[in-house]
């Protein structure tokens, strides 16, 4: 075990290397470029025995990874924003084809106007593609999420998309623990799919499927996604036992007696924890719920964590224009009709859109606004110039 100071991009590349990925294809795009560079270094230096495919677009990246995965290889890539959007149709294909691909999205607001900066609008837009969605708070978590991602993906045969906040994680250095590869090998055995492309035993894959067959295939996918909740919990527990770090599908922080629970995902959670500690030190009952899994949505954990809260404030770093933040919508629909957790005010705050800093002072304002009983049916834009 060694501890290295590195940024989020390096941590992601290390995660892929430690997972012994066999094929990686990538197209560089800010703020993900560091991952591609680091992976290329690993492959060139022989530290990672993978085939590195230079691709002409993100669409080709995903297409080649789909083919490589079908042939039985463990595959990895990373992208951002417009690149992720360019992959969109193939994200559906990868999930429908039940391929355990793991991808990191270093998020970045969708243009136009043209921008490089952080928000989650790119990744929440891929919510319904059938991938597992994991949101990471810091660099160690990103590295661990990749290793866990393969563990889960290869058990349920669904792809995993891991979110890293652009700039806040990708370019921020933190100490990251690199565990011994032998330990990781024990946790993550080589990938051996039940079905793969094999000239010795040819199969037709994903041929034309009529209405008499398609619906059950979707239902099978649905079952796998449902099952992944259990698999993800188990994988995280096992990881904790071996490496001493586990994250849960959600993390409830000081929620049990909280009057107001803040809910968020990604790098902003770190700031929120500081603020909660600050308020708690003054005796104010503020809690925090960090959501790691957007898909499958951990409804049970969320309802449990929010059961005792009198008020919930969801802070989204993304906006579904015309409705509000996606996490806000998800939390509201999870709570609706649930035992005990229903019918409490769930406020939707939009903060940090397009990379604007969310400071402790911004959170103060959010708490202050929440306490003023604002309307619950529309999102509240934080620190908007009006």
């Amino acid at each position: 075990m060694e501890r290295i100071i590195m940024n989020g991009n390096s941590a992601a590349a290390y995660g892929a290397m430690l997972s012994r990925v066999q094929v990686t294809a990538a197209y560089p795009i800010s703020p993900q470029t560091g991952i591609v560079e680091q992976l290329a270094d690993f492959v060139a230096s022989g530290q990672l025995g993978a085939k590195f495919i230079m691709s002409e677009s993100e669409h080709s990246v995903m297409a080649s990874l789909i083919a490589a995965s079908e042939s039985g290889a463990r595959v990895f890539t990373a992208t951002s924003s417009q690149g992720l959007a360019l992959m969109h149709e193939l994200l559906h294909w990868a999930a429908g084809a039940r391929l355990p691909i793991v991808m990191v999205n270093v998020n970045r607001a969708m243009s136009a106007p043209w921008t490089m900066y952080c928000d989650q609008s790119d990744i929440v837009a891929q919510r319904d593609t059938g991938w597992l969605h994991v949101y990471c708070e810091e660099n160690q978590e990103t590295l661990d999420a990749i290793i866990q991602g393969y563990k889960v993906a290869e058990k349920v045969m669904l792809p995993v998309l891991i979110n890293m906040d652009g700039f806040y994680n990708s370019y921020t250095t933190e100490p990251v623990i690199i565990d011994e590869i032998e330990k990781i090998d024990r946790y993550l055995p080589p990938y051996d799919p039940p079905v793969k492309l094999d000239p010795e035993e040819p199969h037709t894959l994903h041929g034309g499927t009529g209405p008499h067959l398609f619906m059950e295939m979707r239902y099978k996918m649905w079952q796998a996604m449902e099952h992944s909740l259990t698999v993800a919990r188990e994988a995280d527990d096992e990881f904790g036992r071996i490496f001493g770090r586990s994250y849960g599908l959600t993390e409830a922080y000081c929620c049990q007696d909280a009057d107001l629970v803040l809910v968020s995902a990604g790098s902003m959670v770190g700031t929120l924890k500081e603020v909660v500690d600050d308020y708690r030190s003054r005796g104010e009952k503020i809690g925090l719920l960090k959501i790691r899994y957007l898909r499958p949505f951990p409804t049970q954990e969320v309802c449990q964590a929010l059961a005792s809260a009198r008020q919930v404030a969801v802070i989204d770093r993304n906006v579904s224009v015309g409705m509000g933040g996606v996490f806000w919508q998800e939390v509201r629909s999870a709570l609706y009709g649930s035992n005990g957790a229903a019918n409490k005010p769930v406020l939707g705050f939009l903060a940090g859109i397009g990379g604007r800093d969310v400071t402790p002072e911004s959170v103060d304002k959010i708490i202050e606004m929440a306490r003023s009983n604002p309307p619950q049916d529309v999102p509240i834009w934080v620190e908007l110039k009006v």
Binding site: A97, V156, E201, H203, H206, E216, Q223, A224
Partner: protein, 454 residues
């Protein structure tokens, strides 16, 4: 989870594929976890959708159809391209007993009608023929006649030599009565004799005569031998014997006791009540050879108890009843079915846009080489090179030369290719007829499915 039954699928085994049994998924547990084929689409006989049925049918190229001798020009050219020179020579000599002569002095109706003429320039078929004539070849091996007949051939021009050749090949005893001291004096002194280099003619005659034909020199009709003597001693007399400058085939009527010695002119088609016009000489060399061959084959068929009219229908080439094929006659005698259609492939029937880079026209220097062929008696390495190039330009009209277009383009992979043969799997051919559209040489025909069985 790896051991979980959810990931177990029925793998498509060869047995399952061959059985063509459809896979039925009745309940969720029957489904695979991902959309992988569990059986084969072979259970879906898409060939049932077919309206048009494509099928391979070898046809006649215009060179074949216009050759008075009935040569299979495309056959010997394509066989030569495949590197089988002796086999190609067999195809040539099977139909034409004098290829070294015709290659040099024929009026070349094959080339006049060559489809490539409309594209750039005709194939120099005569050069190919001249070179091929130098290769070793084997005569057609006809089944023996039940009762070999004695045949007299008077004179030794191309027609007489051709008749003698085919009659001898058909196992009859042939005697040539030649007025002079050498055979084929018409070719030696005729207008085109200068094209026949010394030795070429003698070699060709030797091949025909060899040990199987008796030759009596200095036997001029009406001077040294009389027609009555021939009619008495022979079952058939061929040559310019009855009318001056006209070829006749005389069959002495020995079957009736009343007119024992009365001969009659015989046109094998007379039995069918057709025309009986003697053939006027001099003929063009290929026409002479072709007419004599026609007479010989039909006379033999009469002697074998076949109906000449039916025989002619079977052995004619390109739909022309004055042109016959010895190889088709051989097949008929052996009871082989002949798959070939005699439909002539016109230029419009070719799909040249799908040719894989047609070979360029011949370079002028090589054309000179072609000219030199006519006056020399030997074949050089340059000649061979030239002939290979020239043969490579052949469109192979109506004859498959394994270009693979059909096999490559078939969108249903319903064409199998094995050892140079293609086979359409009609269980899965939907009848799009793309194969016919991409066949550069018009080999693939189409027909409405419901008319196929007729």
């Amino acid at each position: 989870m790896r051991k979980d039954d959810k990931f177990q699928i029925q793998r498509p085994t060869a047995k399952r594929i061959q059985s063509q049994q459809p896979i039925v998924l009745e309940k969720l547990d029957d489904y695979p976890y991902k959309s992988v084929a569990m059986g084969s689409t072979r259970s879906n006989l898409t060939g049932l959708w077919r309206y048009w049925r494509p099928y391979y049918q070898t046809k006649r190229a215009p060179c074949d159809a216009h050759c008075p001798i009935g040569n299979h020009v495309v056959d010997f050219i394509q066989t030569l391209i495949d590197g089988h020179w002796e086999k190609a020579a067999n195809i040539l000599r099977g139909e034409n007993p004098l290829p070294a002569i015709t290659g040099r002095i024929c009026h070349r109706p094959c080339e006049i009608n060559c489809n490539r003429h409309q594209y750039d320039e005709r194939i120099a078929i005569h050069s190919i023929e001249t070179v091929l004539a130098e290769f070793k070849s084997e005569a057609l091996n006809f089944p023996p006649a039940e009762q070999p007949r004695a045949v007299a051939v008077v004179g030794s021009g191309p027609a007489e030599l051709s008749f003698a050749h085919f009659m001898a090949s058909l196992h009859h005893q042939v005697t040539i009565f030649e007025a002079e001291e050498v055979l084929a004096s018409s070719l030696r002194h005729g207008p085109r004799a200068r094209h026949l280099a010394a030795g070429v003619l003698d070699a060709e005659i030797e091949r025909i005569v060899s040990a199987r034909i008796k030759v009596r020199y200095n036997q001029k009709l009406d001077r040294d031998v009389t027609l009555q003597e021939l009619e008495r001693d022979y079952d058939a007399i061929f040559g310019v014997v009855e009318m001056p400058e006209h070829l006749s085939l005389i069959i002495p009527d020995k079957g009736t006791t009343e007119n024992e010695n009365q001969a009659k002119s015989f046109d094998p088609l007379l039995a069918g009540g057709a025309q009986n016009e003697p053939v006027k000489t001099p003929l063009r060399v290929s026409e002479a050879i072709g007419y004599a061959k026609w007479a010989a084959l039909l006379l033999d068929s009469e002697w074998r108890g076949l109906n000449p009219q039916d025989t002619l229908a079977h052995i004619q080439v390109g739909g022309n009843n004055r042109i016959v094929s010895a190889m088709k006659y051989l097949a008929l005698l052996k009871g082989h079915t002949i798959q070939r259609s005699e439909q002539v492939v016109s230029y419009d029937m070719l799909h040249l846009e799908f040719l894989d880079q047609p070979a360029p026209s011949v370079k002028p220097s090589l054309v000179d080489q072609a000219q030199s062929l006519l006056t020399t008696s030997f074949v050089s390495r340059d000649d061979i090179q030239y002939v290979i190039q020239e043969a490579g330009r052949c469109f192979s009209c109506g004859r498959c030369n394994n270009c693979d277009n059909c096999w490559i383009y078939c969108p249903d992979a319903a064409i199998a290719r094995e050892k140079g043969h293609y086979q359409i799997d009609y269980d899965y051919c939907k009848g799009c007829t793309l194969c016919a559209a991409v066949c550069p040489r018009g080999v693939i025909s189409i027909i409405e499915e419901e008319k196929w069985s007729e």
